[in-house]
């Protein structure tokens, strides 16, 4: 396949605030995910990660609209879809899995039927064919014995099994993109790992592009090819996973990395994990200038007044961009030397 599976171009989302004035929970977000690539979207809660996922699927919340920019999946402009084509797009070209897999399955319908539902309505394949496909895909995602599990109801499944069912339902139509909105946050650690391994396998085998929303940096470091760090709705830093984890440039990325629990042999014993002081701003009170300047240890006068552009920051592997006045200047100096 040529071209990116997902291409978001300076996307700005608008929501109506309580007093009617518009809020912009996501601003000027751009990203590209190639087929087979796993891209992680990282940030604190409220940074706009989930809203971005919803915007890709055009799935609410009520009142949210694309104010500027575009989202393309496999070259198709999502905001141009309507009616039948939109429904075919959901579940057909994009699969999605959510944080609480059990809560997102229809409680009174056998999981086998739910897995193939998208296939049945989008391609109109026959019942026997659908059953056959369900068994094949169930075995593929590790639901064995497939036959008996497919006959169960969602409440009869464990969290890990429910997430496998959700994955099977999401990829049954061979979509180009899988949106995984914190798919393992609600699962316990061992199950979490096996589900992530499954997603990792599937994207290699099927050439599936994956947008993984997570705030678990250990997961991101292990599985992601590339990372977007969102802060208060705008991109702080965007680079390959290796760049982000070995040479973070944005003070927010650096703080995130310092704030995660470390094993003794990685972190110097005398530096305790740091907590980022303060909390992310509310949507209706995003500060002017760099949104992070109120919590940034390196903030300068410039940061309070001028929004930093997302610029090439110079990395060893692929594209790397950062939106920080200080980091850009330091990088510039380094290049000159």
């Amino acid at each position: 396949m040529n071209g990116p599976a997902l291409e978001i171009d300076s996307l700005t989302l608008a929501l109506a605030g309580e007093d009617g004035s518009p809020l912009f929970p996501v601003r000027s977000l751009s990203m590209r995910i190639a087929p087979g690539e796993l891209h992680a979207l990282v940030g604190e809660s409220g940074s706009g990660k989930s809203l971005t996922c919803r915007a890709i699927l055009r799935l609410g919340p009520n009142g949210m609209r694309v104010r500027a920019g575009s989202i393309r999946v496999g070259g198709v402009d999502v905001s141009a879809l309507s009616g039948r084509r939109l429904h075919r797009f959901r579940g057909g070209r994009v699969g999605v899995i959510f944080q609480e897999p059990g809560a997102h399955l229809s409680p009174s319908i056998r999981v086998g039927r739910q897995i193939v539902e998208a296939l049945r309505i989008h391609t109109g394949c026959s019942r026997t064919e659908a059953r056959h496909k369900a068994e094949t895909i169930a075995e593929r995602v590790g639901l064995t014995p497939a036959r008996s599990i497919l006959r169960r109801y969602p409440h009869e499944l464990s969290g890990g099994m429910a997430q496998r069912v959700a994955i099977a339902a999401a990829i049954i139509c061979s979509p180009e993109l899988l949106v995984a909105d914190e798919p393992t946050t609600a699962l316990d650690a061992t199950v979490q790992k096996s589900v992530l391994e499954l997603i990792d396998e599937l994207r290699h085998d099927l050439g599936l592009a994956v947008l993984l929303v997570s705030h678990d940096l250990a997961v991101v470091e292990r599985y992601a090819d590339s990372v977007t760090v969102l802060y208060a709705g705008s991109v702080a830093e965007q680079a390959s996973s290796e760049e982000i984890f070995t040479r973070p440039r944005h003070p927010y990325t650096q703080a995130l990395l310092r704030a995660r629990p470390q094993l003794g042999d990685i972190a110097p014993v005398d530096t305790p994990p740091l907590i980022i002081p303060g909390s992310p701003p509310a949507l209706n009170a995003i500060p002017g200038g760099c949104p992070f300047h109120t919590r940034c240890p390196a903030a300068e006068e410039l940061c309070r007044t001028v929004v930093p552009d997302l610029v090439e920051r110079g990395g060893d592997t692929g594209d790397a961009r950062v939106a920080c006045h200080v980091a850009t200047r330091v990088a510039g100096v380094a290049h000159d030397a």
């Binding site: 057909g92 809560a103 229809s106 409680p107 009174s108 319908i109 999401a170």
Partner: protein, 296 residues
């Protein structure tokens, strides 16, 4: 279930005998001589102690006999059997009509809260709940039978006779049931699995019929079962308004005449109907919701 029926039957047995009024006096007439009343009382067996009468009646029940009417000297079972088809037809058609109104109306209203359909349903159900069914019946009679003369006025001889009473009954019941449907569907639509299903590209009618409705059915089944139970017991007032010789009228007349066996059998019949319908509703729950099935 057997216990419920027995309890209801016993209470009804005691109550009809405790309330003032003597079937013998009713049969003999107001001016009858006391000796004549006494003779009738002995013939009916109502002069014996209540306990004896009760045991005798229970004995009859165990042999499948409901006793003999005091006023008409006919087996009670035959009297019920000839009235039952009328009531059953009326109840059945009213119930089907109720469902046909309430399910789509409730669904439509739930899809778009505060939309046109929702406001229309609001008005309909307020009116339907506030106006008694017999009044609706009278209005319908005035319009269709008296003014337009398109439907028959009284009786229960042709299918046409059932239209107006069934509509009158259905309007009031649908008013309540549609609200239950609306509330239940609304609650389901807010749940997260709806989002999960929509993310798979399911939409519109399929979303509602295949996913929302089955999950929203439990409260609807509960209310509908109670409504059907009442309908089968005979819609006393509606049968009166439309002069339909149904079960309700049979029981009503029997109460006035202190015809104990008929009242008892009638009450027992209603109790059995209620129990059976609720039993059926329990089974329907497990069909509608697999979570109940596995909880057993």
């Amino acid at each position: 279930m057997v216990l419920t029926v027995l309890l209801v039957v016993t209470i009804s047995f005691v109550v009809v005998r405790v309330i003032p009024g003597d079937p013998a006096a009713v049969i003999a007439g107001i001016d009858a001589a006391p000796e004549r009343v006494e003779r009738i009382r002995t013939r009916l067996g109502t002069d014996r102690p209540i306990a004896v009468q009760y045991m005798e009646w229970l004995g009859g029940l165990s042999r499948g006999e409901l006793g003999t009417s005091l006023t008409r000297n006919r087996p009670v079972s035959a009297m019920i059997a000839e009235r039952l088809p009328i009531t059953a037809t009326l109840a059945g058609s009213a119930f089907v009509l109720t469902l046909l109104i309430a399910l789509p109306a409730g669904l439509l209203a739930a899809i778009r809260p505060h939309g046109l359909a929702d406001r229309a349903l609001g008005a309909f159900s307020h009116a339907g709940l506030a106006i008694p069914d017999f009044w609706v019946g009278i209005i319908l009679l005035l319009i269709f039978s008296v003014t337009l003369r398109v439907l028959p006025l009284f009786g229960a001889t042709t299918a046409l006779h059932y239209i107006l009473p069934a509509v009158a009954l259905a309007v009031s019941r649908a008013a309540l049931l549609a609200r239950v449907v609306r509330a239940s569907v609304r609650a389901e639509l807010k749940k997260r699995y709806i989002e999960g299903i929509r993310a798979r590209g399911v939409y519109g009618a399929r979303l509602l019929w295949c996913h929302v409705l089955p999950n929203a059915m439990l409260p609807v089944i509960t209310v509908a079962a109670v409504q059907l139970g009442y309908l089968l017991g005979g819609s006393i007032v509606i049968e009166q308004v439309f002069s339909m010789p149904g079960l309700g009228r049979l029981i009503l007349t029997a109460v006035f005449q202190r015809d104990f066996p008929v009242v008892q059998a009638g009450v027992m019949f209603i109790a059995v109907c209620f129990s059976l319908i609720n039993f059926a509703a329990d089974i329907l729950y497990t069909i509608a919701d697999p979570r109940i099935r596995s909880a057993r």
